[in-house]
């Protein structure tokens, strides 16, 4: 059976539909997603296809969620400020009474964690350094020593919550990277990997970790 060639579904729109559906695999999928990250026009087409196909979402039935799931998610996203509680319990344990203890507790409870946090990422051989500054609303990452990744490669910045998979914060090219991002809690990790140009193909780091540092407040 010889069907005529596919008519005017432009190649990009077909690719966008395939991305919205998720039917691609392997290197084809990786290449398409890498392109998607740097091609806003393609992203707009993918979003249009998501909306076009959205009525199919009625085909997904709701399913029960375990009752403790929200707690698990919040524990992962918002780790409790452990040292404060320890001190509070210590005070309670010591039986410190009266105004002094109350005042101390009030101070501890109302003290606000610093909005501005800095971290330094340095390669093991010391030839490359990035400065990362969280100001409460934004993360700004600036290369203060060394050279950007060679042609065909790129440095990709990741943030890793305890026990969670790395989440890409963006690509470190020639200029500083500025992304809207809240100041993370202590214990989260920033890392830089070497990835193919365009970034890690499937949103997961693939290249060697060049540098990493833990957030300390």
């Amino acid at each position: 059976m010889s069907e005529p060639p596919i008519p005017a579904l432009p190649e990009d729109d077909a690719l966008a539909a395939e991305l919205a559906l998720g039917v691609l695999e392997g290197t084809e999928r990786a290449a398409a997603e890498a392109r998607l990250r740097r091609d806003p026009a393609l992203m707009a087409r993918v979003i249009a296809w998501q909306e076009r196909l959205a009525p199919l979402n009625h085909g997904f039935a709701e399913a029960p969620v375990p009752p403790d799931m929200l707690n698990r998610i919040e524990a992962r996203l918002f780790p409790a400020p452990a040292p404060r509680r320890t001190l509070w319990m210590t005070l309670a344990g010591l039986g410190l009474a009266g105004v002094t203890a109350l005042a101390l507790v009030a101070f501890l409870v109302f003290s606000i964690p610093p909005a501005r946090v800095e971290a330094v990422l340095t390669a093991e051989n010391g030839t490359l350094t990035y400065d990362a500054v969280f100001d409460g609303l934004r993360l700004t990452v600036t290369r203060v020593a060394g050279e950007p990744a060679p042609e065909g490669q790129v440095h990709e910045l990741w943030i890793i919550a305890p026990g969670a998979a790395p989440v890409s914060l963006g690509l470190l090219a020639r200029g500083p990277l500025v992304v809207a991002y809240p100041t993370p809690p202590a214990g989260w990790v920033l890392a830089v990997t070497v990835e193919p140009a365009g970034g890690a193909p499937e949103g997961k780091p693939t290249g060697p970790v060049m540098m990493q540092t833990e957030i300390t407040l």
Partner: protein, 179 residues
Amino acid sequence: MTDDHIAQHLGRIAAQDRAAFRALYAAASAKLMGVLLRILGDRAEAEDALQEVFTRVWLRAGKFDATRGQGMTWLIALARNHAIDRLRARPPRAEGDDAMEALADTAPRAEVQLVARGEARRVADCFDRLEPDRAAALRGAYLQGQSYADLAARHAVPLNTMRTWLRRGLLSLRECLEP
């Protein structure tokens, strides 16, 4: 201006509003769990994936653009993409699985009957105009996260034929929806 409550929650979550995050969770978690369970077919993995999806919702809410789409569509796309990432990362399945799936899928399923109103009705009508094999392939891709290779095996056609089918089906669908 908008009555898209999910979109409103996402806007507030982008500004680090934890109460909005809880409200969004209450409004969307059962649906997203349904998406993950349907595609992954495994409750433990779906629960694990749900945690990851809500983590990404918190981290990426700022990327949602309410001028370009619905909040729930964005959430479901995020969940579908994550579930499909997991599917594609699985080792290749043994022969026979596909045959079982093909058998199971020959019976019409409740969820294929789209809710017959508004936009959903239009899409349902447009699906009815597609050749049944192509409509089934599109639904398999959307609701079960099947890849071109899965679909080709299930429908016993070469991969390029499946690609042509699906692209034709998508073209017809787009033309039908946007006359």
